[in-house]
Symmetry: C2
């Protein structure tokens, strides 16, 4: 029975997910992030601490439990941030700060499944957390890591939008607005609601029509480089916090100036309103797949540990929605694997008597990193070749007979050539299944 | 709060688990197994179908659920076999048989945590399932895959014990015993109970003292090669099924004859009694870590799909207990990683003005696969070197000043040499953290 919200992939898709995760992991490690992996469960009081009822936590109960406290007090985590904070708090004495970690795991939310939204999904997170001030350099670094990893994945191009909460809040304070959190929550809906509805809600919160107009002018500013600064300044609002937000965003935008046009944007409507961010915020979409929503996001927060720790620990992090991205590109058939199995060579079993020698051929090929299988029965050669063909396996190996050479057949071209067991290698492009983006999905 | 039964590793241990899983995955793929990954949850009726109350299933409930059927009917899987069977049944039309898959995932059991037993743990499984007869060649193949993957892991040596259920059952039938299942369940406790207690239980089941004596003589047979055959024949029991079991075990043992002495054993006391196996059975232990129990096990079954499918599908599979092995070797400090972070090089930030050029050095090193970090602040060089030293990062890079060369310092030896950004590479042994087995844990 398929369960709505709990996606599963076929083997040829799973090969793509594995390749995807391996690229992400490799990139995170190239930037010096260490892996951690937290348990899937947390005490319910940890998960519900912030009144996160919108996250729809799954509670656990032991069906054969003895009724005492052992059960019912645990739930599955709904993100990787809360478990990370708990882990840092618990292992603080054994970690070195600034602590840079990546974490690629599943999370669960009981919410109603929709396009791109699942009840079980995989996230790939990186965060840096410090035990003292956290340099602005990290805000630039995070943007560059995200752009770097997304550019290496076999997916359509990403557009990364960056903003700064200080800029937004400082601007509002400069306008004389005090309850900035409520306003941010409304502005966060700019992508979802009509502009008139946003205006209505802002007016309802007590803003003057001039304040509403200024806010909407601000949030409509977008620039590929640092051009946003003069556009904000033209609005004539002054505040110390605004200035600090402008400086920070300018620093970050300068650090990404070497990326191709269109891949990164200062976009002043990004608020990540429901989150706990306090400075730089990020949100990325796939070009041509905007309907999926944000496929990566994150930002800077002042106090990761929240209630866990005594001292504040500032941090900054981003999260890549692995399942969301894959569901989108699988749905659109935007990527394909060159075959459904890792096998590169099927070795023909000529007869039952030669099984041990044939296994030895396989052993030697594997020693040199070539994925291969000995056909499991000494049946007609045509049937053995057919097994390979059906799975997209490119080569069939004919063991040496009566002192002649081994032979390898490329079953796509039909070409069959002598081959040495010590030196034969498949072309690089055939060694492993390769993943390609379909041309018409690239923008 | 640490939760008993839900282990978590520190980053330097997580690097070891990742390396471990990467070796397992690579080896499975070299043998031509395709990856799948199933959802973590199954409907409760699927999980409880076989009355598996000893598996202590964790049920799920949505804390914010609306009280209707959406919740309470799901549970976390307790192994990877039931989800695999359900997956094959569901996707049968899209899979090619024989279907070879590997699956490396977490599973959950609510049972009381003990040494080597956890409530959340990672398993690495491979299975082959056929839509017709499944050649005995796979029984040999599975043993060789297990021996191959275990020999490549940074763990103490494995001792793989192999037996055959037909041999056991045929022997008992030949002795005139009919309720072989009940006897197998008792014999399965040979490792746990005293011999006199086993005898008592067998007598209680109605066996004669001669039958008991023969059974215990049979289960005490162990041989590194095919010597078990003559020892069984000397017991003078005759049955067609026994003969077939002897032939099968002999075939499998011949196929593993090239492995070093002591790594594989025909061990006639292995029954895997509580499982559904019908032919070859496997069970492996780590030498010097016998206390951990079986770290890998599996066998052949006649009908994987059970109640899922209409037609019978025979299969054979083995499972490696990743968390059990790691917990054992971490506990004994039997392995160590050469450092706690992936980073190989820290690039010194000489001053704030040179940040962009310094980032460019990092970008170029990463392009050539070198894991590196630009130090995040332009502080004293000693502090930057100290950051590297504390984390076991072997190299510090000094960017070229005033037209001179770049310089790289090995902070272990103190040696500092000019280096070219285009060609410098760390020694192979320093490129990534390496995992080594401590000499005194090797047997």
């Amino acid at each position: 029975m398929k369960l709505s919200g709990f996606p599963e992939w076929l083997p040829e898709q799973q090969l793509i997910e594995n390749e995807f995760i391996s690229i992400v992991r490799n990139e995170f490690e190239l930037w010096g992030f260490s892996p951690i992996h937290t348990r899937s469960v947390e005490p319910l009081d940890v998960l519900l601490r912030k009144g996160e009822t919108d996250k729809e936590v799954y509670g656990l109960n032991r069906l054969q439990g003895e009724g005492e406290g052992a059960s019912a007090s645990l739930g599955l985590h709904f993100d990787l941030t809360i478990p990370f904070a708990r882990f840092v708090s618990e292992n603080r004495g054994q970690l070195k700060f600034p602590f840079k970690r990546y974490q690629i795991q599943k999370a669960w939310r009981g919410e109603r499944p929709q396009f791109g939204r699942f009840r079980e999904f995989t996230q790939a997170d990186i965060d840096v957390v410090a035990d003292g001030p956290l340099s602005l350099a990290w805000d630039a670094e995070m943007a560059n890591i995200l752009l770097s990893v997304m550019s290496k994945l076999p997916i359509p191009a990403v557009r990364l939008c960056i903003n700064n909460r200080k800029l937004l809040e400082g601007f509002m304070l400069g306008l004389g607005i005090t309850d900035t959190a409520a306003i941010l929550r409304v502005l966060d809906k700019l992508d979802k609601l009509a502009r008139t509805e946003i205006e209505r809600q802002l007016l309802e919160l007590g803003l003057s029509s001039d304040q509403v107009s200024k806010c909407l002018q601000l949030t409509s500013i977008k620039s590929p480089g640092t051009g946003f600064r003069s556009q904000v300044e033209q609005l004539g609002v002054q505040h110390e916090l605004l200035l600090s937000g402008l400086d920070e965003l300018e620093f970050v935008m300068k650090s990404v100036s070497h990326w191709p046009e269109g891949s990164v944007l200062a976009d002043l409507h990004i608020a990540r309103g429901l989150d706990y961010y306090t400075g730089t915020v990020y949100e990325g979409q796939l070009k041509g797949f905007e309907k999926l929503g944000a496929v990566c996001s994150g930002g800077r927060y002042d106090n990761l540990l929240g209630d866990f720790g005594k001292a504040k620990m500032p941090g900054i992090g981003v999260s890549i929605g692995v399942t969301r991205i894959l569901s989108g590109i699988f749905d659109a058939k935007a990527v394909a694997a060159s075959r459904s199995v890792p096998t590169c060579v099927v070795i023909v079993l000529m007869n039952e008597e030669s099984r041990m020698e044939t296994n030895e051929i396989a052993r030697q090929l594997r020693m040199r990193g070539i994925s291969c299988e000995v056909y499991h029965e000494a049946v007609k050669i045509g049937k053995q070749i057919d097994y390979a063909a059906k799975r997209g396996i490119p080569f069939v190996w004919f063991p040496a007979q009566d002192g002649a050479d081994h032979q390898v057949k490329d079953i796509r071209s039909g070409e069959q050539l002598p081959a040495s067991l010590q030196t034969w290698l498949p072309p690089q492009s055939d060694a492993k299944p390769t993943v390609t983006i379909k041309a018409d999905s690239q923008n």
